[in-house]
Each structure stands twice: as C-alpha cells, then as structure tokens.
Symmetry: none
Subunit: 401 residues, 2 copies
C-alpha cells in the first residue's frame, strides 16, 4: 500500500458507495474434497462472483495467523504491523466499552496468592462469573479514582476482567503485572520509558489498593494485569480516505474495532437479516459500509463444518437486498480463515471478490477459495484492498503528473 | 526490487541487447467483451507472446492510477515513490527543454489581479496562445538573469508557461506562489528549508519584476507559479545497471523523462515506422533501447476505442523489423492502462510479456490482459521488470555466495 500521507493526498470525497461484506473466518480447508464455501449452496454469492474480479488476500504475511484486531485493521486499509492494538484495548472494545484517547486499558485475571505473595493459582480456581461480577462491583465501588485518574472495572467470564484507567499523561506500553507462572512472587508493572512513568505508578497503586480489598475474597485475593496499553492513535477513515463510514456488526469487539478507525456504529439486531435491514435503512447517510457476519468464525472455531456452511447459505439468502441498493463497489471477503478442520484462526489467505463496473472481466464460476485463486487480482496483501475499493468507486486521484 | 546499491553491485556490462517496447496506456477495459488489445488483429505480437513469458505489472500499488512520470520511472527500474518529479520539471521535459542538475523549474499561469493585488482570474481569461508567446518573449527579453541565476521562459498553450531558473545553490521544493483560489491576495513562494532560501528569494524577485513588466498586459497582469522544484537527483541507468541506453520517442515529455535517467535521445520521425527504422540504424551503438508508442494512450484518453485498436495493429505490422534484430531480451508492456472506456489513465495492471531464450515456457495464446493474467510471471510491481530484463540478458551476477 501507499504511505498514508500519499494516500490522503490522493483521496477525494464523492457520492459513490462502497460495501465491504466480511464473513468472519470464512476461508476454510476441504473436508471430503470441499471447503465450507465450496460446499455451501449460495446461488446469489456465486452470481455476484461471476460478475466480479477475484483474488486471494494475505492479512499479515504468508503463513501468519492473525487475530481479529490486525486482520480487521488490514482490511480497513491500515498497515497491521504499524498499529498495534493492546490486548486490554481489544478486550475493552470487545465488551463495548467506549474508549477515549486518554484511556489506558489492561486485561485482568483474578488470581490466588499465599501469605508470602506467591501466586498459587493464576485463575483463582476459575471462580464463577457471578462471583467475578460481585467482586468487580465492590472494587469499582471502593476505587473510583487513583489520584487524578478515573478507574473503570468491567467483569468478563470466570476469572477475567478488563480495567480502564482514564486520565491525562497516561502512556504505555507497560510491562505485564503478572509473573506468568505459578510459584513466583506477584509482580508490579514497569514503565518502558520515562513517558509511561505516571501510568506505571497509577497502575501499581491500583494493584496495592485492590490487594487490600481482595484479602477477604480468597481464592480471588489478588489480580494479574496484562497487555497494559493505551488506545493507539489511528487516523480515522475520514482523515485518510475522506469516507463517512458505518459499521453494522452484532458482536461488540467488531464494533469496538470499527470505532477505533472512526466508523459510526449503527444499531442493529442479532440476525443477518437484521444487519441487511440496517444497511438499507442507513443507506443515504454513509458512503462506506462495513457489514460483519460473525458466526462463520464462531462455527469454524467450534469445528462445526455443517453450521458454518449454513451461515454462508443464510447470508446468501439475504444478499439480494444488498444487490438492490446497487453500490458502486461491493467487496466480499473474510478477515482471516477459520477452517472448521482446525477449530481456530489460520494463516490461509482469504477469498476476495470485488464487484464494480470498472473492473476487467474475470471468469469466476463461483465464490470459493479455488476460484478466487484463479482470479485476475492474484494474491495480494489484505491492506491493499482498500485502495482497490476506493479506485473502483472513483475516489482516488492520479499519483504524480 | 533490490535496493539500488545491491543492484549496482550485481550488474555487469555485456554485449547483449534489451528492447523495452512501451505502448503507452495500452491496457484497457472490455467493450463488447473485449479490450482494445484483445480486439486488435496483431499476428506478430501474438506470435511473440507465444514464445514469451507473461504477467501483469502494477506501476505504483494496487488501485493507484499513475501519472506518466512515476509510471515510466517504475518501468525504467526506479522506485516511483522515492523519486518525485515536480510538475515544473515534467512540463519543462514535456516541451523538450534540456534540463541540467542546476535547474529549478516551475509551471506558470498568466493571471489577472486587481489594483489591490487580489487575483480575479487565475487564467487571465485564457488568453490566446499567440498572446502568451508575445508576453513570454517580452519577459525573456527583459529578464535574462536574476542576480547570478539565468532565467528561461517558455510559452505553453493559452495561459500556461514554464519557467526554468539555472544557477548554483538553487534547491527546492518551494511552496506554490499561487493562492489557489480567486478572491485572494497574490502569493509569494516560501522556502521549505534553509537550503531552499536562495531559490525562494530568486523566484520572488522574478515575480516582482514580472509584475512590473506585465502592468500593461491586462488581463495577463500577473503570474502564478506552481510545482517549483529542482531536477531530482536520479542515478543514471549507466550508474545503476551499466547500460548504454537510448530512447526512441516521438513526444517531448517521454524524451524528457528518458533524459532524466541518462538515456541518449535518438532523433526519429513522427511515425511508428520511423521509430523502428531509428532502432535499426542505431542498433550497434546501444545495449538498451526504450521505444515509446504514444498514440495508444492518446486515443485511450480520447475514448476512441477503434483508433487505439488501429495503433496496436500499426505497431504489429512494424514488429518484424524488431524481431530481425534478434535482441537477447524483448519486453512489451504499457506504462499504465488508459481504457478508452474511462477516457483517462487507470489503476489496472499492465499486460507484460518478456521474450528471451532463458525463460520457462509459458502457454500464452496471444498478447492480452487476460492471457498475461494467466502468465507464469504472475502479478508484480512494474519496477521489478528491469531486474527481470537484466537477468534474461545475463547482465546480473549472483547475489551472495
């Protein structure tokens, strides 16, 4: 991709509309000779592929399996190696917490220590989620601020929680306040640079205060904090590409990721049909729509090949509603692959199709990994896809004279 | 591509000859199912393709539409993001002005200002070209030098002109001496760094002197200068690749671009046949020939599909003359695409074929975008093509032991 500064200089605002349809983890591996995508009956997607140009995208680099953060940044047109999203930030985004640029976030575990402050259980016996919620409520009640810094504590599942520190001059990253192994002494965080000194002092004060409060909550009598980092400064899609972008997603983490790049988060329901309805209702108000289908990934993670196929088929039935809106550009792809066979994210490239009146004719028969591998776009870095979408929507000026 | 230093270390001088045949803007988009290239009857090019290896090249990056400057630099083996050619330099090259490395050039407009020095017409009512020529002649007559700096003024069409400042210590880039909008006060240029202070002072002195002379030439009573920059320091193809390169082109801008990378500009006539005759006549004196066909681009810009097809056919009839010379390497490609359908440059990748006895066998049926997309070379950055040409001419040593 072009350096951001160059790309900013080339991008122009126009009326044309782009829809980026992400089927999370849609790429797969064959079972009985066919991947999930090749197995699904999806006449509408196949028809779209027949009038599209195809290719395969690598989210990060050959053989590299991405998390949801970097793989989404790439497909949004950002260099995923340049912008690192700390685990704490991603978790906070994941529970729908509205982050500001004064926030530092960390992922937390409740843990057990003995009277010599040696960690004996890094997960506090996997306490019940309800117990977690009670403890978090008590901590929040008793610790609202550390010095001039606001503290927000949000429970997750079992022993997990997220903590957000909001104040001026909080810089990261900080080292983990976690010895990583049982049998070791509890650990405090350290500043990685002079700029992060204040943040490290605030976080350590919090740990000490929490340890006092948690004395009575054995086995959850201490905390471990990891991935302590600030909201990264990511230029918005409006700054970079002069877009007015919107996000339609059902899961909080994807809304969080979208909000980090400045998308408006549209309210929608739980089903794919709801998401397409939301697209139609908001059609006039934006020029870029990111529509996220979560369950292809969830069923991939579960190893449930058949249900992943069904989700693709369910999406397919809703596709005509998108086609009726007649966007200048439709791109359909995954953020990364999640083969049911592997029960997890994988490094396999994503099938990618782009529909626009300005592309050369491809000869794709259907939307699948194999067909896209033969497409005219070839294999390319996922972060280049945004340039291609903008070009096809005639939103980029000429480079150089 | 390899870093220049590495490439310099690998390149060796040999007797073998390379011909790079650029059909400007040859890549297209289909009309009635076929692009210009797929429509043209071109038995010689197709035969060449059948004994070549094919691929598609991206001049800059996916989706980025290049100007002629960066797209040519790329195909000459230069990183187009590294060497920026200012608008003034390109214009000067475009009118065939022989630039030296002491030159700073700018693109100029004659404009109208009122008695408060407010710009009321940025184009001076689009004065006639003849009037422009008269005014430029008068300015040139009255201003030959500013301090120790020579000044060359050359008229363009209507209100446009080019100005070249030649002297020691002239560095750019400078900000535009142009308020960009009507209704604003005339503007002087500013130095972007201490090194460009002298240049800014010279340019501003020129503007003041010109304004005095132009008082009697209303509506052309002031000037606006843009793209004020120095000839970029580009290492020559001889330095980098140990080539003795020659340019055969009919249009001044391409000769100018070629001279910026140190090519000898060969005198030729106006027709494609003239260009091939020039190639034959100079065959013994050079080991790299850049042969440029302009009109594929011109007709593309005009939206004239049929005439673009005819130019490809005309070139095809001349191709046997090139084949008779039996170069070690023939590469045929475009610098960028100019689909007649889009009436302008586009981002679509360039069909590329390379003929050499040292390549693997491809199965191309003809020279077209689709066939090249299936070629063994795949899709690659245009600036890598030079390495491939040099390799096939056995002009590159092994990298590392």
């Amino acid at each position: 991709m072009l350096p951001e500064k160059e790309l900013m200089a080339l991008s122009v605002k126009t009326e044309s509309k782009i829809v980026l349809l992400i089927m999370d983890g849609v790429g797969g591996l064959p079972v009985n000779g066919k991947t999930e995508l090749a197995t699904a009956k999806k006449p509408n997607l196949d028809k779209l592929a027949q009038s599209s140009i195809g290719g395969l995208t690598d989210p990060i680099s050959l053989g590299i399996t991405p998390g949801s953060g970097p793989s989404h940044l790439a497909i949004f047109g950002y260099d995923p190696l340049r912008y690192e999203i700390g685990r704490g930030i991603l978790e906070a985004a994941g529970i729908g917490f509205e982050l500001t640029n004064r926030d530092l976030a960390a992922r937390g575990n409740f843990a057990t220590m003995d009277d010599k402050e040696i960690i004996t259980d890094r997960r506090a016996g996997r306490i019940a989620t309800e117990k977690n919620q009670q403890i978090c409520a008590e901590l929040q009640e008793k610790i609202k601020k550390i010095d001039d810094v606001e503290v927000f504590i949000r429970p997750g599942k079992e022993h997990r929680f997220v903590i957000i520190f909001r104040g001026d001059g909080l810089n990261g990253p900080l080292t983990d306040a976690d010895p990583q192994k049982e049998g070791l002494h509890i650990k405090f965080t350290e500043a990685s640079s002079p700029e992060s000194k204040k943040a490290s002092e605030i976080v350590n004060k919090f740990i000490r205060e929490a340890n006092v409060i948690l004395k009575s909550h054995h086995p959850a009598n201490t905390i471990l904090l990891r991935g302590i980092a600030k909201v990264p400064h990511i230029p918005s899609m409006e700054e970079l590409f002069k877009l007015k972008p919107a996000c339609i997603a059902t899961y909080p983490m994807y809304k969080g990721l979208a909000s980090l790049v400045g998308m408006k988060i549209l309210k929608t329901g739980d089903t794919i049909a709801d998401e397409f309805r939301t697209l139609k209702e908001n059609w006039n108000d934006h020029d870029f729509f990111y529509l996220h289908i979560k369950k292809t990934d969830s069923y991939g993670e579960d190893g449930n090949f058949a249900n992943k196929v069904h989700i693709i088929e369910e999406l397919d039935q809703n596709l005509p509603q998108l086609m009726e809106l007649n966007p200048a550009v439709i791109a359909v792809t995954g953020d990364h692959s999640t083969p049911a066979l592997m029960k997890g994210h994988s490094w396999h490239p994503n099938p990618f199709i782009l529909h626009s009146q300005w592309e050369r004719h491809d000869n794709l028969k259907s939307f699948s990994e194999d067909e896209c591998a033969r497409g005219l776009l070839g294999r390319f870095p996922a972060c280049d896809a945004m340039q291609l979408m903008l070009a096809n929507a005639l939103k980029l000026n000429k480079f150089g004279a």
